[in-house]
């Protein structure tokens, strides 16, 4: 993975000192809270419902064992002993004190980490496929591209005060594991159909929030060397013309929608033509320098199958279940990418205690060349695991309550922190996730249901990505009480689609019943091997609406 040179390091250190000084100027009144708020947000410091919150950047979801250990130390020393992994591959702490934040940033800088631009109206963490470097069908590792964009976007003098946040994601496979179609800019590395050269398909204008939209292709094939200049052109048009009168209408997706895609594209091409490519674009030598950090680790030459792995699966059904759900195919024979689920049944989604972080750091060091990935599903991955080692890892994970075999299943729920933590929320989301997980706790039933992505947001800002959940849940308020709208048919992959509401909002305690109804329809209707989303697309929403309506009517009768 990337290692800072002295320049990257110096920048981050100077940033810490700048923040220290900003706190001082807030305290002595030189900066108003409004001014300080935007500046502290640009270091990932939010004020939430109960306390400040710190969002630490984990660039494209890759971190080292050493970094994970530091995150554990910070959780213990400066927070309440745990952290929360997010839908943009970052980590959040919920209880830091402002007076301690400069010291926290020092500790982060010690391991090449920071909170730069994880919030604010600027370019955020560049996310990427969590299987980067190990997916068998990737054109090339997307992370050098992501790292280049990270550096280019860091403290960019022109683009630090945009109309609103700006999110970029990068993949290099046909399968989209980074939801690029719902990002402001989505980048897919692909091969030119004729020359075979690697280049970029660029999408613009995807996003969630109040008005979700799927991104559109603005360039089918952009040569690799032209990336930064083209992205600058997009950002320049957005910076100049994005709306600043209404924060709910300020994302680039709204500009694309209001101008019309063709007019937006024409503006971008107009600016792009004026930019001096050679000044802005990266040196090929620099691209190579960065790429060298992502060279494959020292894999062993192994047979494709591991005898001990197969034997353990035979002998231990619980292990076989784990192997079935939590392992992803790997480009190297004899290896796998192992997902550690942070979705314990009946507990908050995406959280890890300091002890658990250390267990993961340790396992990564011993079994995964010291590297860990964070997925936008709020889980962790050990990317370079030998099949021979999976059983031993699983046993250690079990001891740490990290061996839940539910990746991709109905209890692998994405949930934003919601009103339990977040100032913007209109309802709680975590208890809904917990209740659903408890209802579907039975492992055999989960496997029977198969792949089903539930995503929960505690307000219309949609940080839980509910619009692209196979089942989406949106927490609102009705009559002074929390009320939940359920949507159906969303998809965050290359087959991206936005969910549609099934009916009126329902009480929180009815949500597990509602999910059961939807699952029952699916199980009754499915053909061999069909997934939930496939059945939804085949039979349409009406059967599901009818089943959902039984819950609504039952509630109305009970209230009468």
């Amino acid at each position: 993975m990337y290692r800072y040179d002295e320049f990257d390091e110096l920048l981050v250190r100077e940033r810490v000192e700048q923040f220290r000084d900003q706190v001082q100027r807030r305290l002595d009144g030189s900066l108003t809270e409004d001014e300080f708020k935007l500046l502290r947000q640009m270091n990932g410091v939010y004020l939430q419902l109960h306390a400040y919150m710190l969002r630490v950047a984990i660039p494209y979801g890759t971190l080292s064992s050493r970094q994970m250990r530091q995150l554990a130390l910070i959780a213990e020393r400066h927070d309440r002993g745990y952290g929360h992994f997010t839908t943009r591959q970052n980590i959040q702490y919920n209880w830091p004190k402002l007076r301690e934040l400069p010291d926290i940033f020092e500790l982060l800088a010690d391991v090449e980490m920071h909170g730069i631009q994880t919030s604010g109206n600027c370019i955020r963490n560049i996310s990427a496929d969590h299987l980067a470097g190990v997916a068998a069908d990737e054109v090339e590792d997307p992370r050098p591209t992501a790292e280049l964009l990270r550096q280019w976007s860091t403290l960019h003098p022109e683009f630090s005060f945009l109309p609103r946040k700006f999110k970029i994601a990068v993949i290099a496979t046909a399968e989209d594991r980074a939801a690029i179609k719902v990002h402001d800019i989505g980048i897919r590395i692909l091969r030119h159909p004729e020359t075979g050269e690697a280049g970029y398909q660029i999408l613009v204008g995807g996003g969630m929030g109040r008005t979700p939209m799927i991104g559109k292709v603005i360039r089918d094939f952009l040569p690799k060397q032209d990336l930064l200049a083209f992205v600058e052109a997009v950002l320049r048009v957005y910076n100049l013309e994005g709306r600043r009168d209404n924060p709910f209408k300020a994302r680039v997706k709204i500009l694309v929608h209001e101008l019309g895609f063709d007019a937006f594209k024409a503006r971008v091409e107009e600016e792009y033509a004026k930019l001096d490519g050679p000044t802005i674009n990266a040196d090929p030598a620099e691209v190579e320098r960065i790429a060298a950090y992502f060279a494959p680790p020292a894999y062993e030459t192994l047979p494709a199958t591991s005898e001990s792995f197969e034997r353990h699966k035979q002998e231990d059904p619980a292990f076989a279940a784990f192997a079935e759900t939590n392992l992803a195919p790997h480009r190297m024979p004899g290896y796998t990418a192992l997902t550690i689920s942070l979705k314990p049944i009946g507990k908050p989604t995406g959280d890890a205690s300091a002890d658990q972080m250390r267990v993961v750091a340790d396992l990564a060091e011993r079994f995964s060349f010291g590297e860990i990935r964070v997925t936008h599903y709020q889980n962790l991955v050990l990317p370079y695991v030998k099949l021979d080692d999976v059983y031993a890892i699983w046993q250690e994970l079990k001891a740490a309550d990290l061996a839940i075999a539910n990746v991709g299943l109905i209890t692998d729920i994405i949930s934003c922190p919601g009103l339990d933590y977040c100032k913007l929320a209109t309802a709680r989301s975590i208890p809904i996730a917990e209740a659903i997980a408890l209802r579907f706790a039975d492992e055999e039933r989960q496997r029977l249901i198969g792949e089903l992505g539930i995503k929960i947001s505690g307000c219309i800002n949609a940080c839980g990505h509910h619009h692209v959940g196979n089942i989406g849940i949106l927490g609102l308020e009705k009559g002074g009480v929390e009320n939940y709208q359920v949507t159906l048919g969303g998809d965050a992959t290359e087959n991206a689609s936005l969910g549609e509401r099934l009916g009126p909002g329902i009480d929180g305690d009815k949500v597990p019943d509602a999910i059961e109804k939807l699952v029952d329809v699916y199980l009754a209707e499915r053909h061999e091997n069909e997934t939930f989303i496939e059945v939804v697309r085949r039979i349409g929403h009406d059967p599901f609406k009818a089943a959902f309506n039984e819950i609504v009517e039952g509630a109305a009768r009970a209230a009468a």
Binding site: D5, F7, D8, L10, L11, E14, R15, E17, Q18, D21, Q22, R25, G29, S30, L31, E35, L38, L39, N121, Q151, W152, T154, L155, H156, P157, E158, F159, S160, F161, L162, R236, N239, L240, R244, K274, L275, D276, A282, D283, A285, E286, R289
Partner: protein
């Protein structure tokens, strides 16, 4: 109004007028700019103040005649001026570039990297933010991923330099 550059507070040699006026250094709005340039007296310096919705390329035909361009920043969080400044420099404007608005010192280095030479602000705003804070802010970063007068050559440029020295 208080005016600041890399060396601290300075006096403003320019004055604002609605249209051409017989004074050594005048600032006019875009609507009366062409007329003012047509009437310009020998040695007279003319500047224009533009809102941050103004397309900078509209100034290209006359930019060689301009001594000063002022870009308005209606709020410290409104970064349109940074693009406008950079675009003016990219299209070859070499005169003085001024930002007018409630910027905070933490934006000074960004403004300078986008081509701004000076910042104008209200008395009340200046009272809250003494010159030392602005000058210290300009020196906060000795390094950056983009070229600028304060941090010097970008990190990318420095790495390129290193490579060519090593070669």
């Amino acid at each position: 109004m208080p005016l600041l550059d890399r060396n601290g507070w300075k006096s403003d040699e320019f004055a604002r007028y609605d249209a051409f006026f017989d004074a050594p250094a005048i600032i006019v709005p875009p609507e009366t700019l062409n007329a003012a340039l047509a009437e310009r007296l020998p040695q007279q310096r003319i500047g224009v103040e533009i809102p941050n919705t103004f397309r900078p390329d509209l100034l290209a035909p006359v930019q060689d005649q301009l001594s000063l361009v002022i870009v308005q920043f209606p709020a410290f969080s409104d970064g349109r001026g940074f693009s406008i400044g950079r675009m003016l420099r990219e299209q070859g404007y070499t005169g003085t570039l001024r930002a007018n608005g409630r910027l905070v010192p933490d934006e000074f280095a960004f403004a300078r990297s986008c081509g701004f030479d000076e910042i104008e602000m209200s008395e009340e705003h200046a009272a809250r933010m003494p010159a030392e804070q602005w000058l210290a802010a300009a020196e906060t970063f000795s390094i950056a991923y983009h070229n600028g007068p304060d941090a010097g050559a970008s990190i990318f440029a420095r790495r390129r330099q290193r490579r060519s020295e090593a070669a």
